[in-house]
Symmetry: D2
Subunit: 342 residues, 4 copies
């Protein structure tokens, strides 16, 4: 059994990791930390786990993280990088669900995240944990930077087009919609029920932290800098991201075949039949990404629709997928639950 | 492997049965019928099942139901009773998720359901499938009447009190709230999104078909006719029933101990600590019933709060639980998925 | 024009007062206070008011409240009572939307609200602002205690029965469901969208502050102490309260006629035809209370269904109705907007 | 008083027209038709109108539409054109809220709407009822084609840019999100609460009927054919459209000033300050359109955010605005209600 620790288990990513890991046949959760809630049984905070998770939150000091085989950081940005070196030195593998190791350009990272990086050398070592692109590198890694939720949906949607070099990469548009759980479990006015239900809005149009992450990913695929406009929106659903992607074809190609071939051996990516419209609930509570590709009116514009559950494929599920790769397990182990619909 | 058939698989109960059965380690779904959708792959109607359910809907005639080990009827009331005898004669076990076999008093059934019963003798044979009360009888049965959603939540909530004879059974109140999936997947105006969201209402106050079913159950527990007022409400959630139950104590008793003892060996019933308030999402997509019992201000009024997922413990999950009993399997087999929260 | 001031205008009650008062033909809003947001234009916090409310929040000191004709307190409990005497002395009329003046029994008030009362003598003077009961007393008052949201819905529902003396007042049950705006605009985890949507729960079953207020009101109507069980629930809607009320008839009576007669001249109370089920959206954003009365199966149990918009008839609208009475205006002035449905 | 008739009053557009017209100081609703519901009091179908709308639905024959001053068609596409000539001949003014008179190219209209047009000559006469563009022509018209909901939000968003000739009109993207009331009040499975809540999806990506309407409008503004990609999405809110618009600047310009100047005298268009994000609830139940314009990272991409209430500015409210123009009334008469928030 893999001994797993979770640092920062009181948010939505944390409780979702708990749900997935405690049903995983090869994992034993041995530690979960929360400085603020130390001593409280996890199931008191999350009644959905009653009877299944017996652990209590512990302080980081008491949690014996160094004895874990793997530690997941479900913490705010800037926390994981403070403890990474010590844990790696102790032989622990790390998966950071925050942004500390996602962006290779340290200056760029500092600009967007507003702090100095504690261990730039480890950023260089870290592997960006999008298995559909980096599977082999992840298998041999010690430190995985789990992708952001928007970046997962957008990169998987653009990937076949950019890899194949069939679109104009100077002006790509990603219009993305996220459920409110993406904003986390912090007490804030703008995500109160009475503020966020029965309404719809864009946010962070001047600039969002996932923009440099997505642009880095697409630029790597393309082999050169891409031009990307990214607009996130808050939509009144609990879970789910819907990315609507726009770009222009530079040469004629069978888009359906291109997508189906690229993802033919990917367990978690499902390319829908032509003229389909995936909905977010078709992946709810699962690690799947469903994608449809369109060419409206037969013109030169490609529209890609890509949906994930932001807490699963966009966070905790992808982290478990990465863990499976790190430990040589079947990639889908513990991640085969069917989506919940309705 | 148990060969399972589903009659009427296009509603919410049907898709939920599919989700549970196709993940059940001892079941093979061999037939699913829908006269109207015959020929359509199930996953075309329910994209959440893509890649996991390869079956297509078949006409009842083509479905070879007689070769199944068990057949689930997820049909409108009045359908199952037409096919029951033939299937029983063929050695098939039956679980009816509709109301055809729930009420023993045939005249009462006819009054509430507005039709003649096709096989009153089989009503007498059928076992009411609430395992927490009828476990042993279910094990030996051929024909199980799966309880209604409200009746499940209400009966499990009142059960310890009525069995112990500690409350006045002449005036019990069950104020129940259901998610909209309880109304089924029929196209109707009053359950449209724009009609049913951001609003709350009672319905069927003059009389609801679950009233005689609940009253029958409580009267059996009490050993005499009980007096029950039952008011159902429609609430803007997809899944979930919350029953708020009121009655008066006739003698002093440790309510918390009474409930904990009654349910101490029930896998699917979770009695919460004193002063708790279970919420429906704490059982979402699971077969659990969570219950809290209160005695406000120390008076003689008992308030019981009981929550289930109407599609799982209130329908498909309970049906699978009954199937496990019918075939001598562990009662929780295939039903241990954790609730989805948030 | 009536010069109106609002103390504490940053919550939902405050913004609803602003919406109603700035459309009221006889009112000029001259001051709105918020210590925390002093200097911020009101329309920056509430974009729905852009172009219509030009005021900025001011500190209480700067707000010249003593020059107002009427001041509304939309503050947390315990604030209004600190400033009441000074404003009354300056000739200002006061309407407190919090609970400082609702409960006449000072000891009882202190027990439930956890503080000493600053001016018990003014509690004795204050008039409980439910116009359907206290209209004449309100007209001559200086100080109005605006009722709570649950108490408004429950009292209007039980009123005809209790006044007529036709029910057993020793055991009455009020099962109430509220939209989430009732919890206010404070940043708290349990009212976040991802915590409060697609779920349903009871709360405060051991005891809620509206219980003594409702009991006081019903006891006054009855002329003796009543027995009341009150259970509030949180339901995923923005606005709306649905009270489902249960009691037992002590003598035969034409319930429909009783309700229609009692409310025949009440502009804001609408008694629905027999067998109706009012829904909360039928009063959304209006000052109406709609009521239906049932006697299921012709038994001796009465079920009353009563719905209001908690922010209007349950708070700001009722306050404006009281203001109209205080100043001799038509009671419905500025309150005739139609409900918003869908 | 203007005598107004409504043909087809049982849908969401119809009930919204009723809400607005019965509060309009210069209008008397004299007829409302529904062949199917003839005889039923309007307030029985729409309880929110109880006590305020005394009319019953009548058959079109019985409704005396020829005696109205204005008739609103809130009917399915293809109905209004059958009755237009007769009513115009009788001196009645017409406002069609459906699509019969929106598209001037008859062949294009037939292609998208799948029927022959009954009166192409009247299409030529009809005025496209977007007052912010066509105010003067509307004033003198007999027949107004009320714009679609998406076309209203998109055209108002792109208008200042296209009129000023500062963007590349060969590739414009309109990513639009609509509340579910936009799908109407028909009983259909895909808009049931349990199908449409807590999920998000695009639809009609291969082609939507509002695409030719929007393209016609933008092409008129530009003076040449524009290239437009339009993707509508269904989002779980009752009312509201959010259009996110993308295009590329062809020369440097002060975008904020451009928008503010263009709309400086428009009562119903509100240009927000720089860096704003309008949300749909900020216009809920009002006739407003709120717009923000962005230039992310100072690049050459313009992002416009435009929100309306699809039932008001996107349908019934705009129709009343057009009526005000037709009859020489103040354009905002009866349309000044504040948005409902929360």
């Amino acid at each position: 059994m893999i001994k797993a620790g979770i640092v920062g288990g009181t948010g939505y990513t944390g409780v979702e990791l708990l749900r997935l890991l405690c049903q995983h046949p090869e994992v034993e959760i041995t530690a979960i930390t929360s400085r603020k809630e130390a001593g409280m049984p996890v199931a008191d905070m999350f009644p959905s786990l009653r009877g299944r998770v017996g652990l209590a939150f512990a302080t980081p000091e008491a949690a014996a993280l160094r004895e874990c085989d793997v530690v997941f950081f479900a913490t705010p940005n800037g926390v994981a990088m403070q403890q990474t070196r010590e844990l790696l030195d102790a032989g622990v593998k790390l998966i950071d669900l925050a942004a500390d190791f996602r962006i290779t350009d340290i200056a760029e990272w500092s600009k967007w995240y507003g702090m100095e990086h504690a261990c730039p050398d480890l950023v260089a070592e870290a592997v960006y944990g999008l298995p559909e692109i980096n599977r082999d590198r992840i298998k041999g890694a010690r430190l995985v930077a789990n992708p952001g939720c928007y970046p997962t949906a957008v990169q998987l949607g653009f990937l076949p087009l950019v890899e194949a070099g069939v679109v104009d990469t100077t002006w790509m548009v990603a219009d993305c919609k996220s459920g409110v759980s993406g904003a986390g479990r912090k007490a804030e006015v703008h995500t109160l029920f009475a503020e966020a239900t029965d309404t719809f809005k864009a946010y962070a149009v001047p600039g969002h932290r996932h923009w440099p992450e997505i642009r880095q990913g697409l630029s790597r695929m393309a082999g050169h800098e891409v031009g990307l406009t990214f607009v996130p929106h808050l939509t009144p659903l609990i879970r789910g991201i819907h990315a609507t992607l726009y770009c222009r074809l530079t040469r004629d190609v069978d888009l359906q075949a291109l997508f189906e071939e690229r993802y033919s051996s990917e367990y978690f990516v499902d390319v829908l039949p032509p003229k389909s419209h995936p909905e977010t609930r078709s992946v709810r509570a699962s690690n799947l990404c469903r994608i449809a590709v369109h060419r409206p009116q037969g013109g030169d514009t490609v529209v890609v629709l890509s949906v994930i559950d932001n807490l699963v494929k966009g966070a905790a599920g992808q982290a478990v997928q990465n863990m499976n790769l790190l430990f040589g397990l079947a990639e889908s182990l513990g991640l085969t639950q069917l989506p919940i619909a309705p």
